[in-house]
Symmetry: C2
Subunit: 335 residues, 2 copies
């Protein structure tokens, strides 16, 4: 059943059918009704490929993240898909891992698929270790379709970034820890992404602003595996810390396990905060205070901006949108 069949049944030309499908105003209400009825009866739906060929768009958005099995990204994917679907778009989801080569491959693959826009979830796409040129492939992609980053920032034409205030979040938490009497805050981290660097910067700034030294051995970079974090902490007897600021809940739970293993009282002897406010934080014992970085809000901002861009609205949309984080206090902090 194609447009010709409908045209014939309705006794009009295919042009008219097409106009009805696209709800063009230049068709009389009467014929619209008639054609619509016939389409309904015959369960006609336009062929998306033919449509794509003509319009050069299939109303699909490409989403790339390193790994959807990560709860933060899974949550992002969920919210993005839900909202985009409401706007009539579908999502192609890709998991690129974190190797530069694969990220680039996926981006070009999606570009070839003629997506209408690209969403990059996670700050790994903003270039690691401060090397800004590693994000050039993103800027290039942005020459073809608008690119939206979630929780990362790079400067570039047609790239729109929404991220949480990781700097402010760690600055505040570290400050509160210090003001509550903590002097040796362990910064526990698992990456060198844009976001991780922001968190580090907030932590360091808080130390400085409170007249505390920034010590290299209190910045610990480890793999994000609960047991391995616990074991590393157990082994590193040289480390001397009275609090832990972790950049991810998994790391923080590792610290909790460490404290429990050493029979340290939480939060009295060791105060701990995590990041992402994930399911892990209410699962562990004691339950973890965690910084909520508001994925859902980032997704909302992103999709709204995207629609504004795709619809070519007048007023320019912000290329940088920051949303504040919020510490959800549970049992591992005493401030």
């Amino acid at each position: 059943m194609n447009i010709y069949d409908i045209a014939e049944l309705a006794g009009v030309s295919i042009a008219t059918v097409s106009r009805v499908v696209n709800d063009s105003p230049r068709v009389s209400e009467k014929t619209k009704q008639r054609v619509r009825a016939i389409m309904e009866e015959n369960g006609y739906t336009p062929n998306v490929f033919a449509r794509g060929l003509g319009l050069d768009s299939m109303k699909t958005i490409g989403i790339i993240c390193p790994d959807v099995s990560d709860s933060y990204m899974a949550s992002a994917a969920f919210h993005l898909e839900g909202r985009l679907h409401e706007y009539g778009y579908d999502c192609i989801l890709c998991c690129s891992g974190s190797r530069q080569e694969n990220k680039e491959k996926y981006v070009s693959l999606l570009l070839n698929k003629r997506i209408d826009a690209l969403i990059l979830v996670g700050s790994t796409y903003a270039g690691e270790g401060g090397d800004d040129r590693k994000a050039d492939y993103v800027r290039n992609a942005a020459k073809t379709v608008p690119v939206f980053m979630i929780n990362g920032y790079i400067k570039g034409d047609h790239v729109y970034c929404a991220f949480s205030d990781d700097y402010g979040a760690t600055y505040d938490v570290a400050s509160q820890m210090i003001e509550a009497g903590r002097r040796r805050i362990l910064f526990l981290c698992d990456s060198h992404s844009y976001s991780a660097n922001q968190k580090l910067a907030g932590y360091e700034a808080a130390l400085k602003d409170h007249g505390l030294p920034v010590l290299g051995d209190l910045k610990l970079y480890v793999k994000n595996r609960i047991h391995s974090v616990r074991d590393i902490l157990l082994e590193r007897r040289d480390l001397n810390f009275d609090s832990v600021l972790a950049t991810d809940d998994g790391l923080a739970v590792g610290a909790i396990k460490y404290a429990n293993a050493k029979l340290l009282k939480i939060p009295e002897e060791l105060c701990i905060t995590g990041f992402n406010n994930s399911a892990l934080s209410i699962c562990c014992d004691p339950e973890l205070s965690s910084i909520d970085n508001k994925v859902e809000e980032l997704c909302a901002i992103t999709t709204d901006q995207m629609m504004a861009v795709l619809r070519g609205e007048e007023k320019p949309v912000a290329q940088k949108s920051q949303v504040p984080c919020r510490l959800v206090k549970r049992c591992t902090t005493d401030f």
Copy 2:
């Protein structure tokens, strides 16, 4: 840059270029090389829409799950995407929730998008509460494209199901509990899906086979929220149980929290098992023994079968593939 441009630059016809693109054997190696070089130079990639129009396929697989932010489904999405990508397919991901109406809507939406195959993740698509007709929309979809279910089963032409042996898993665990001296096993569940029913059946069969009564009040259906599970258990003082068989790790963690709140010794006074072997199970305290239901393996089976079907291979592929589960023993069991 389209096929005509390349043809002109290479001094051949578009047919030849097309043949080169599709690596047809009926082109001389020499011209292949030449045409390829030109395509390379000009960064040519065939237009997927035009291609789709001709072939009626864009090499995309539709994946529907109730909610990717759930760790089981996120993990499934991750593995499926990874494997399908290796086979040259992309994935359109949709989260349908669990309302019948939305499931049907998403299925027809994807069908209109001319996906090459459909994957349904989660047993909710197999019809709830044993009403098999609720799965008719799946059978209908299967008239258009092959349908693959992960962790659910319905009978139907062109629908291929891979699921874990939930029945066997709960049968075994319940049996072991009983043989270890437990007499009152609480069955903790949050749904009436195909999979949940299998688990229940396994549990009940184990009780019967060991001469134990199947008690209605030891089958508890609750919402899958850790704290609410704990609170319900705390409130239900009438409930008398010495072990918990939960159909999801989240539920099991709720039971752990309950035991901890009542200062019950785990596993001595309360032995607990979860399901899915998720991150939660190593996060809680004590760490949870959990049934690993092998998502990755299900995904592998599914994608392999799908390729066999899509390639129209000779030998028929199984419509029912069951993989055994495995109890990962941690600290909440003593058998």
